[in-house]
């Protein structure tokens, strides 16, 4: 299995509270991604990182921020959680060295009440 872990795996939180999800990789991949997966929408990119301290927005970035202080770790923060952010969140990694595969973590199920 690819070395990507996510924590927590499940979380229930209240509207308006801050939430941080963590992704940790042991692949030494340069690129890391945060996606959300919702029925009918598939996987949508929230933010991604192309190196330590280098990040950029994806297609659904509003209400989310990220940070990457080490190659191994990529954090996703919901500054003030809303019910529309209830979703399953996946972290993924990719590298431009062979074999060019993208690996996913096991996901975090977040419920905002």
């Amino acid at each position: 299995d690819a070395g990507i872990t996510q924590s927590p795996r499940h979380k229930v939180t209240e509207t308006g509270t801050p939430v941080t999800l963590r992704c940790h990789q042991t692949e030494n991949h340069r690129y890391m991604y945060w996606y959300r997966q919702d029925p009918g929408h598939g996987l949508r990119l929230i933010h991604y990182s192309y190196g330590v301290k280098d990040t950029d927005k994806g297609e659904v970035s509003d209400g989310y921020s990220v940070s990457r202080s080490k190659t191994e770790d990529f954090l996703l923060t919901l500054e003030s959680a809303t019910s529309s952010q209830t979703s399953v969140y996946f972290c993924a990694t990719w590298d431009q060295r062979f074999p060019y595969e993208q690996y996913f973590g096991p996901g975090t199920r977040l419920t905002v009440t």
């Binding site: 598939g42 297609e59 996946f90 990719w94 060019y100 595969e101 993208q102 996913f104 973590g105």
Partner: protein, 109 residues
């Protein structure tokens, strides 16, 4: 606008009945086409990457092909354990990925 469309949304096959899944795309700056398998409650599992039209890759009962506007995932003589959702994604300039909504495959014994 970059767009990825997968069809059909759902497919039911008898064990041994071969078929194909389609992934069509309209993107600028295509770098690669990726296929994944996703089981319920799990993260997507990488299957194939295709980089140029005419390229083909195989793995057990699966074969992926790529043209300039679409990709096919051919499943030959499927087994019940092939039941899953199959996702495709395009990798574009900047190394962002855009995903289709997937095809849910059920193989009946």
């Amino acid at each position: 606008e970059d767009q990825v469309t997968q069809s059909p949304e759902a497919l039911r096959l008898q064990e041994g009945e071969s078929s194909s899944l389609n992934c069509s795309y309209t993107v600028s700056g295509l770098r690669g086409l990726f296929w994944y398998r996703q089981d319920p409650g799990k993260g997507p599992e990488f299957l194939f990457t295709l980089y140029s039209a005419g390229e083909e890759k195989e793995k057990e009962r699966l074969k992926a092909t790529l043209t300039k506007k679409e990709s096919f995932l051919h499943i030959t003589a499927p087994k019940p354990e092939d039941s899953a959702t199959y996702l495709c994604a395009v990798q574009v300039t900047g190394n962002q990925f855009y995903f289709g909504t997937g095809t849910s495959l059920t193989v009946i014994p």
